[in-house]
Structure formats: C-alpha cells, structure tokens
Symmetry: D3
Subunit: 183 residues, 6 copies
C-alpha cells in the first residue's frame, strides 16, 4: 500500500471520491492512501451518504486534513470496516496528545464538538474512503473544533496516521496468510 503526502492545497468537493482518481492524479498504482490540506465543500449530487442527501445536508469547513484511501479488493462491508478502523486509529494517534477524544461510528468528537467527517463507499473496481479532520472548522454546519484549536500539527498527525494505516494493512495481509481455518 502506497502513501503520498500532497503538499499543495486542494478543495475537497467529493469529486475526488472516484475510482482511480489517485492513480490518474498522482500516478500511484494499486492500494494507496494520499493526504492533503484544504477547504471542504461537498453538497448535492456529490453527497454519497444518502442520510445526508436525504436531509439536504452539506459538508463544509474552512480547512481540513483530507485522507483518501483506495483499495482494490473487497466489498462495501470491507470498505466500512476499513473506514471504522481508520477512524479508530486516528483516535489512537491523536489521543497521545489530546485527552478527552471520543469516537461515535465514523466521527471523532472533542467533548461535544465534531472533529471529523468520513464516508466509505465502493466503485465498480475498488473500495474508497474519505476521512477528513478539521484544521479550522469555520463554516461547519454543526458545533465543531479543529486540530489548530487542539494544538496538533496536522501534517505530523497525517504522517503518523498514514504510516499506521499502511502498517496495519500489511499486518492484516500477513495475518490473512498465516492463519488456518477451523471446522
């Protein structure tokens, strides 16, 4: 699994949650996680979560650290499990510096303030995850906070999370091949 830090700012609009976007944009072949910072503005047809879409909801924040993950094996249940694991691991990474975080499903909270957004889905050829942690939550439609306020360096956090996720993927792949079945 490849990991790539993208230093140029980009606005996440939901259009990036598309099969082979990572390959076409960065030339990374195969399973990959990339991250970049920038505004978040997802609405209307780009909402993949139909609970949000049904509520005419939108996703917005002035600046977030965005993670995009594409993995070419598995179904929608794999996608959702991988997403929950990624969010848990974000909590693990952050909790070294920030006590008092909690996770509810695919959301991280600091007290009652929302820290992140996420969606997991499938394309015809892959599973995809978008996970983003507020740096500056200005504009969010709910009470929110960001890494800035928590005093966390977003790039260092991202680097550590991506490395942890890649390591976990490798350990799981190894476990897959060294376990026998039971009757």
């Amino acid at each position: 699994m490849k990991a790539r830090c993208v230093r140029e700012e980009m606005t996440y609009t939901g259009e990036q949650l598309h099969s082979l976007w990572i390959y076409r944009t960065f030339g990374l072949e195969g399973d990959a996680i990339v991250w970049f910072a920038g505004p978040c503005a997802v609405s209307g047809e780009h909402l993949v979560d139909q609970v949000d879409a049904a509520a005419n909801d939108y996703i917005k924040a002035a600046r977030m650290m965005h993670f995009l993950v594409e993995q070419f094996h598995g179904d929608l249940n794999h996608a959702i499990l991988r997403q929950r694991l990624l969010v848990c691991m974000a909590g693990e990474v952050l909790s070294d510096d920030v006590p008092g975080l909690s996770r509810v499903g695919d959301d991280l909270f600091f007290g009652e303030k929302k820290l992140s957004v996420s969606i997991a889905t499938i394309s015809p050829v892959s599973t995809l995850i978008h996970f983003a942690v507020n740096i500056d939550p200005t504009g969010a439609p709910v009470r929110a906070c960001g890494l800035e306020e928590l005093g966390v360096d977003p790039w260092r956090f991202a680097e550590r999370l991506a490395a942890a996720y890649v390591g976990e993927a490798e350990r799981m792949a190894k476990a897959r091949c060294t376990v026998r079945s039971v009757p």
Copy 2:
C-alpha cells in the same frame, strides 16, 4: 447481533473457536458475542495462528476475560478487520480508566507488558474471533499484565466492550444500506 454474558468460569482451550459453538452451547442464533472468565490454555493442534504453531508457541494465563464472536457473513479479510476493530474498541473502552495503553495489530499493551491475545479466522459457515484480556496473567509465556493490576473491573469492561461492538455492528449495517456507490 446478540450479546451474552456467561457467568460460569470456563477454561478457553481453543476448542470453543468452532462454528456454531455459541449456538450449540448457549442457543443464540445468528451473529453473537459471548464473554466469560477463566483460564486460558491453548497449544498444539488448537493453535490457529500458524506463526505461533510454527514457533511451538502456546497461549496461557491463569485467568482472562474471553470474548468469542461469530458472524455469519463475510470472508477471512472481514474476520481480520472485525478483529482489529474489536481490539481498537477494547483500547477505547479501557483508555477511559487506564492511560498509557497501546495497540500493535491485535495485541494491547500496557507499557511493555502484554495485556491480551487474539485470533480471527473462518469456518465453512462463519467468521470467528477470540479475544481475551488478562485478568491475572500468571503463566503467560511473555511479560504480561492484567486488569486486576490495572484496577479495572473485568465484568464492567466486558459489558461495555460488548455493547460497543454490538452498537458498531448495527451502525455499520445501517451505513451499508444508506450509501450510494461512486463511478
């Protein structure tokens, strides 16, 4: 997903990691998590992890809180993802009371002391997880500690972890049915 606390002490030998053991033993139909306390003594043919088996390793502790999870949908990759999620969630539950825990793959550590063991596998009809947290680690083949030493009530911990896992399973099932795919 059903949850059942089993109050009678049982020794975990690895024979419980068997399809439909939960149904045959407790009458619970379908996806389920059960937990019980008791010694742990797994060796030889009952070792499912072939890394351990290859090393002539064994798993032993005087008393652990054992979790057995059987879910009837999915493959070995689902099993391993579910296991990692369960172990992460155990870390989340414990971290309210115990600072300084860390997770490496499917193991929890307190400092350098190992707190848990786990295996995920498949049967011909289901995915299965055994996850056990030391209460009293006496007899473990590595440096280990237990919930007793950490001042954590094992039953309260188990109840909270099982409830969290069942809740997560429900949230994921709902997410599965309310997300659209992307191109």
Copy 3:
C-alpha cells in the same frame, strides 16, 4: 426486512427500480418491500430485461399492484432466486382463492391469460425486484387478466404476500445461521 404499504397511487415507469429509491422515498433503511397500486408504463431505456428491449417490447397496464423489493446483500443470482421465490409465493397466496393459476418462470398465468410482470436485477449496492400483478390489465400488449376479474382484493393479497415474503426472509436468515457445512 421492512414492509410498507403505500396508499397513494403511483405510476410505475421503471425509474423506481433504482438503488436506494425506497430509502429516499419512504425513509426505510435496509432490506425492504413496499407496495402500491397504479398504472404501469415501462418502455425504452427503462426496460431492464434486454429480451424485451431487443424486441422493442413495452410493459403497460391500466392498474397493477406493484411490489418493489430491495435487499442489500447478494449478487444477481440471489436476485433472480429471490424473485422466483416471490412469484411462487404470490401463487401460493392467490391459490387459496383462485384455482387454476400457473407459474412459468417469473410470470403468473390464469389459464392462458398473463397476470403479472416481473424483473430482478442488481444495482452497485443491492439486489432489486419489481413484481406487479394486474388489477385491471387494460392496455397490456398480451392477453391478460387481473385481480379484479378474479375477485381478489388487491390490498389484502398484497398484505399477505409481503408478510409471507418477510417471514420467509427471516426463516432463511435463521436457517443460514443454524446449519453446518458438509465435507
């Protein structure tokens, strides 16, 4: 599996055979069967059966009882098996009141008159079935009859069929989890 009777008349055009249409329209999360009465008018690009499409066929009737089923697990073969089962069960429900019905694949007949239409397919996230029984077959491109002519109350029939299908789904889910494999 959820069941919902929709009392307002709607024209079935084929556009309803779309993933998450039930969720977006009625707010039902997860596996569901809904039914409503109304005209049927499917043609051109909305024909999913390519045998019909190839023949420039169309589906039309003045008023039918429409069933839409969405289930979020399984492949196209599951979809077709579920459809055949649903049509068989419609035959079982009707045969209490109407002797002389027969089934050929996914079609019910009363003598030589066609009583129903059906299609099963998949979306990227689910399996989908449309099954509709004529109430008033006026306009059908083949010899047809309807529940009106047979003296069957369409709403009572629909209620019974939906309940039977939901019950069957539950029994099958239970059977799935209480059977062992064989060598």
Copy 4:
C-alpha cells in the same frame, strides 16, 4: 443441469449429503438432481441442521422419495434460496392433484400432517440440497402423511418436479445473462 432417476431403493442416512457424491456414485458431472426411493434414517452426527441436532432430534420414515441436488456455484444463501424454490415447486406440482397443501419454510404439510423434510447446506466446492417427500411416513417422529395416502404416484411426481427444477435453473441462467443492471 443433469437429472437422473435412480430405480434401486436406497436408505438415506445423511451420508449422501456430501460433495461429489452424485458424481462418484452415478458419474454425473456438474450440476445435477437425482432421485430415488427408500427409507430415511438420519441421526446424530449426520444431522446437518443444528436446530435438530441441538434437540437430539432424528429424521425417520419407512419410505420417502428422496431428491439430492448438487450445484457447483454459489454460497449458503444461494443454497437456501434454491431449496425454498424446490419446495415451492414441489407444492406447485402436487397441488394439481392434491388440494389443501401448504408450505412453511422448507416443509410441506397436508393439513397438520408433515409431508416432507429438507436441508440445504454447502460443501467446500458446492451447494447441496436434500429434499424428501414421504411415501409411507411410518416411523416419523411427528404427525405425518405420505404420497401413498394422498394417492400420488411418487415416480411421476418426482419426474415432474425434477423436470420443473431443471427447467427453472435453465430459465434463471438465461435471465442472469439477459438483464442489465440499474444505477
């Protein structure tokens, strides 16, 4: 899908519910349905339904018409769907001659008397169904009746059911290849 009528009497003990038994016994390659008449005596380790096994139940009848189906594609959910369809179709075939039959899951009843037994399961390489209809129910552990009492020729019934099942399999295979997906 091949169909083979076996004229010699055989006792069904559950050992026949084994992958490739049809191939090894009759030389039929690939998907097949075979039928034969004979006693039924399944107990203990040969019970595949763990609900029966848990209840220390057994399956017994003096003479039944046995159907064994092996299909080499699909999972346990396919197996159970195929089984339900087969039992529905047995009802369809019988109802021409016998009014008053009913089906509950994978069981046929005549009034309150049980007419059939069935199990669907998987092997490592296939899905398997055993379905058997009493000819003479003597010895059954529940109130039961048989084709003899109902005045139905078991061989003619079997021939018609097998032909119908093979035809259905062919129609479904064709439907699988002539339907497009929906968004």
Copy 5:
C-alpha cells in the same frame, strides 16, 4: 459458450466493450466469443486501460481480427486471468505456423514488432475481453506487424483460436465440478 464468426467488416472503437453488446447485436445469450475483421480506432473516453489514458495514448490499426468475449460469471481477476489465457492460446495457435513469437503479459510480439492489443475489464453484470491481432498494422503508434506479413490466414486463425477457447472453457468448467478441496 457460444462462438460466432461475423463476416461483415466493423470498426472497433471501444464502444463494443459493453455489457450485453454481443446479445443485443447478435442475439447470443450467455457466455460468448465473437470475432470480426476491421479497423481499430480507440481513443479518449473509450480507453479502458488507464495507463493508456494517462499517457494520452490511442489504439489504431488499419485492419485487425477482433475478438470480443463476454462471460457472465466472475470478477475482475477472473477477467484478467481469462484474458492472459486467451492471449497465451493465440500464441499456441500461431506458433504452429509462425516461429519466434513471444508474449509479454497481454501482448504478442514477433521479434520486436507488436502483433496484438488487448484489454480485460468488468461490467456490472459480466467480464469482458477485447483482443485483436493486426492483419494490416498500418497506423499503429508503435512498431507493429500483422498476420498478412506473417502469411497467416486471419479467418482460419480466428476459427481455431475461438474453438480452442471454447474448448478450454468447457474443460475448466468440468474440472471445476470434479475436484475435491483439500484441508
């Protein structure tokens, strides 16, 4: 698996690589291989291989023998394996007449000259392969040669390859149903 030789010349543009195109165009139901001769001109949005698309590449030749294969079972890995097998088999068929051929992945070469193009992909309901061998390579963006130059009758070659592929599919289907699993 059906095989159909199409005698009228057609330009392959990539639009033919579409689920059910064979059924809609030639009326062949189910798994099929068809072949026809004609120019090749694939570019832009019709490029399925994203390596080519990323390079702004195009596929062009004055006249090729085109093979289109649609099979309704399997995933993208099956599709790619089937493609490699088809290309290997083309090599086997040609090597009787043409010494010195070599294969690299899904490409055949005669010395350093490229003889063929191919892509394997999936649709929502099937796996699809396009494989084409130059008859007259004029216009190809790389050094290429064709069957004309090699003195091979393209129709006889196509007939033999299609027959071999259909035979292989049948042998594999039989092997699928006559092998047991291992522990």
Copy 6:
C-alpha cells in the same frame, strides 16, 4: 509472490497439496511458488481429481520437477485459470528449446507422450496448484517422456517458469488496479 527453489529431493505424495504447507515447511508468508525435484507417487485418498479417483487411477513417475503454488485470494475458478496459465507458460518456456510440444487442458504433450501432470484446487483459506513435469517418466501409467529425454535442464526450466509466473502475477495485479469498468 515469493519464489523458492528447494534443492533437496522430496517425494510428492499429494500430502503437500495442503493449505499453509509452504509456510510451515519453508517459512514463506503469503502467495508463493516453490519447486523441487523427486519421485511422484499419488494414489487413493490423496487423489484430488475425482475423475482419477473414480477410475482408481494413480500418478507415478521416477523423477519430476514439482511446482507447488499457493495463492491466498480467489475461488476454485481462479485456481483453475491460474493453473491453465501456468501450464501454458511452461509450454512457452519449453518451446524455446523443444519444438513440437502441445497442451491439452492442464497437460503438456510431446507428440503423443505425456510430459506433465497437474491439479488445481482450493483449501479453506487459499487456492493451490500442483504442476509437475517429468524428468524421468519411468513408472508412469501412460506413455510419457521427460525433460531428460528432451535435453532440457530441469533446474533452468524451473527457474525460468517460476520467474515468468511471478512476473505474470505482478503484471496482472497491476492491470487489476489500472483498468476502469465499462457500463
């Protein structure tokens, strides 16, 4: 995918066709191909091909070059496709030195003499292939020849075939991740 040449002679009895045998014997984690030379003697319960087993056949040769492949992703159809590809590739490698080879399914022939044996199957956690090419065919139950007679160095052949198979697996994995689907 790992490749390992095993220099010590071993008799292939069929017991090596077992999940995780490669890992347990050689410590190779994950997808792997290993090869070794030695006698071949497979009979009775170790026959996996039920066509052979039904015929009371056996597999025997004085010395063969044996290839064992275990891959941890895929179903029985993948296994058989991979096997056919491996056998094709053996033909490609050999044909540089030996003209007049032919392949029928999973068998290589030199004229009418059989050169190889092969089986592909699945275990609960993997797909497995055994492919063996006669070095000295003495004892084979059919007309056979070997690499010795053909003047081919078995170790050099094996090295080249294994390298080609590993390379093909890598190219296919890359193709899997750089192709888009079609409608």
